[in-house]
Symmetry: C2
Subunit: 506 residues, 2 copies
């Protein structure tokens, strides 16, 4: 490094919209991914890990927000002038893999994938430009049994990570039904599917925003357009009031039972072939789920779900957490969507020219973790390591030997490696590490062949208001023979209550 | 998608130098990362996960190959004209975090991190532009006890993932000793450390390439320069023959025992204060390791190790696998380096202006996996799911119920979701999935209330040459009551030998 540079120091911060995850944040996410992978595995899905980087050409342009500059991805040109980009989801890379290895993969191919994806979007509170997805997809199966399977698996996955039945609902709809409704409304012409494509895109995105915009907002977008709070105008689909009415009726078609909902949808799609096919598919999905015990307390037909992505061609589904949490301003609100997916029969065709049916689900793991934290359902806890302190820096070898013995006995342990001069700092360090026990051996103890064990959990409990009896029943520290170090620590740990892990700095 | 695009289809392949990982490739790497994380955890290290993207300014320029265009990273400019890039290692992000959270993190801060890193380098056989690293570092500890700890931990990690003692060696050196040697050679002036910096960089990289270039190649680079096979000329450090001799003597200073090596180094560094300090540090490391039982069969002093990175300031170490494998051309060669690290006391200072001592190790997990595979030490195996076949597509609900029952009993199971028309295809599919058992229920069985279970492991074993006795002792298929489905499958699986997992397509 040249001298010039030391004058202008780099800023110690991640790029805007990115963040770091510490200690329990990492292990909790990992535990959740492992649990979900266990469910996917049990269903016969195999892992696939593609790289973070794809060619822009292979990724395609399937982000829900197509209006933004550079279209939502982080991209760059490589030395061959080819455009590369970070994947924005795990579905586009799967489509590429399914096309590339179509002769080698089993068909149908069930695969799961988990890892970060990147979106070049405006960051906001709780909204980051890198986040985890955890997907499972079946490629090569045209039957809605595959869609039903994915819905059941999603339900299992939510329960496995700790969302009890009743706290979530998987809502299922079908794009074909929506297309049927569009036919009835006169914005879809089966003989010329490209006609009105732009209008249908606007309708789709408008419906997807009902929770945020409300009925009036959606109606505005179905019609001439909508001016938002900032004064920006979004062009609408240009539907007449009658046409808009048909679409709104579709969204409100949910009835008390799946059968009643299907009947209402059958009315709405009228003579549309596509629409009737869609209703039939929904009925089959409901039956297949029912027979396995996934009733409407877990999975329901709900025409209000359409999903923003343009590539879905059949069933679509979304998992929502139904409990309330407090938002940043302390107001109760529904937690909302944590997973979604659907059938996309044309993504592989982009590469091969041949239609390959596919369906799958994506779980937003970071949102799911946030939900569990909001409900206080993650442990967030963990006991820190035993800390061996340094009283005499000439005997580092002795202290290291203690740490080694503890570890070989399966006890997480570390040696204090800061400046040992101030012993108070060593205990403060042990505290910050949520250490249960500090091991101390000064010259006197070494001469006697003993060590002192300081019970730090007790200290924490006293601070948290332990009773006098408890205080008396546990000695704050005890001196034992050096040869009894491991056995005594084991005994102390066995009797210690769990202490919070203080490893996360923020 | 417009009609124009369907004419020009995207290529179904990842960008050059990137690849996909299937099935066992993913689970084996994950298992290895979990094992290493277990060791790091036991040593008191806490997980940290930073994002893949950093500002170029925060990353700094510390790649070993500084000569390449755009300096080895994948970078781009964001909408604020700030340059961002994919991390090329896990150390640079740690330095940024240590600076950013210096008031909140425990000090010393022991952290581990695992994940992909990206290098914009020329890809080659087995050399990819995205690969995994698995690092552990201690920030804030100046004592070489921290370096010794990291070396011991590296040794433990290698053994835990399945490299037995004797098949690896951790070699330790010290940059201060090299600096002492440079002083003696006259290319380092303690009163003006920046003088001869370029020459020292060339010396460093030359020494690091001894395995590839041989002694003559290194000597050429120490002197005027070297022309490689392609005719390209690399400028040398411009050392005289006498100077080069000092450096070469340093590299050859390894003796039979650590004590003898240290003594030889003490000779070589002469009166250099830095050099003597370095030798003393090496002796302390060797003592601390010895007392814990990490003798020279696992960790040795070896001046031949310097590491290419410019930022190391003290002890450096490298783990090498000592067994031979066959290269692409079938020639035996040493497997070589799988991990390395060292002390870097100035990386955090870049941000804060204050020196923060740090040391750590990085394990190249993908290379380690390749080594285990080359030795046939990974299982690569795993049994596929039980496949429930579809004889009658009107009874999908019944088949799904069977799959659900098996899963609830903890048995990995899946329903065949391809076109059920050709039953042979269903069995071929089950074969490709390495399925141990196919479940079959046609109309007759359904009427009788029974199912047929086909033992596919037996089929595979017969193909692999099972004896006639074995053939006779296991029925190829059996019909049982539908209510006995789960119990019978459990019994068959319990008696089945492990079958290879056929999930990887390449």
């Amino acid at each position: 490094m040249s001298k010039d540079k030391s004058a202008r120091r780099p800023k110690a911060e991640p790029p805007k919209g990115f963040r770091d995850y510490f200690g329990a944040e990492v292990t909790e996410r990992k535990a959740m991914l492992d649990q979900i992978a266990g469910v996917y595995h049990a269903y016969g899905f195999d892992p696939l890990e593609t790289s973070a980087v794809e060619t822009v050409e292979a990724l395609g342009k399937f982000l829900p927000d197509v209006d933004r500059p550079n279209e939502g991805v982080f991209g760059w040109q490589d030395e061959d002038d080819q455009w590369l980009a970070l994947r924005y989801d795990l579905t586009a890379p799967l489509a590429r893999v399914a096309a590339q290895f179509r002769n080698d993969l089993p068909s149908p191919y069930r695969r799961y994938a988990m890892g970060p994806v990147w979106r070049n979007e405006k960051p906001g509170p709780g909204r980051f430009r890198q986040f985890y997805q955890c997907d499972a997809d079946t490629v090569g199966s045209p039957t809605v049994a595959a869609d039903a399977e994915v819905c059941a698996m999603l339900s299992d996955a939510l329960e496995v990570v700790g969302i009890p039945r009743g706290d979530y609902i998987v809502r299922v709809n079908n794009r074909k039904v929506l297309n049927g409704v569009m036919e009835v409304a006169g914005v879809l012409d089966p003989s010329d599917p490209d006609r009105f494509a732009a209008e249908r895109g606007i309708v789709l995105r408008a419906i997807d925003k009902i929770d945020r915009l409300g009925e009036a907002g959606v109606r505005a977008l179905l019609g001439a357009g909508r001016k938002d709070d900032s004064g920006d105008f979004t062009k609408g689909a240009g539907l007449s009031e009658e046409q808009a009415e048909v679409v709104m009726a579709f969204m409100a078609a949910k009835r008390d039972s799946g059968t009643a909902t299907a009947a209402r949808l059958r009315d709405l799609v009228g003579a549309s072939q596509t629409g009737l096919e869609g209703v039939q598919e929904l009925e089959t999905i409901a039956e297949l789920l029912d027979v396995q015990g996934y009733g409407p307390d877990r999975i329901v037909l709900d025409p209000g779900v359409v999903r923003g992505l343009g590539y879905y061609t059949g069933p679509v589904f979304e998992a929502e957490l139904t409990f309330e949490i407090l938002d940043e301003k302390g107001r109760p609100r529904q937690f909302g969507s944590v997973a979604g997916g659907g059938r996309y029969d044309d993504l592989v065709k982009r590469f091969t020219g041949q239609s390959v049916p596919a369906t799958g689900v994506s779980i937003g793991v970071d949102r799911l973790l946030a939900a569990l934290r909001a409900k206080g359902r993650t442990s967030g806890a963990g006991i820190g390591p035993v800390v061996v302190t340094v009283m005499d820096r000439d005997r580092m070898g002795d202290y290291m030997a203690m740490v080694g013995e503890l570890r070989r006995a399966g006890i997480r342990a570390e040696l204090y490696l800061g400046n040992p001069k101030n012993f108070g700092n060593q205990l403060k360090y042990a505290d910050k590490r949520a250490s249960p026990i500090a091991v101390i051996q000064g010259g006197d103890e070494a001469a006697k062949g003993s060590v002192v064990l300081k019970d730090l959990v007790l200290g924490a409990r006293i601070a948290a208001g332990a009773s006098l009896e408890e205080w008396k029943s546990r000695p704050a520290q005890l001196e034992v023979a050096r040869t009894d170090l491991v056995a005594t620590v084991q005994r102390m740990l066995a009797s210690a209550p769990e202490a919070p892990d203080g490893s996360a700095p923020c």
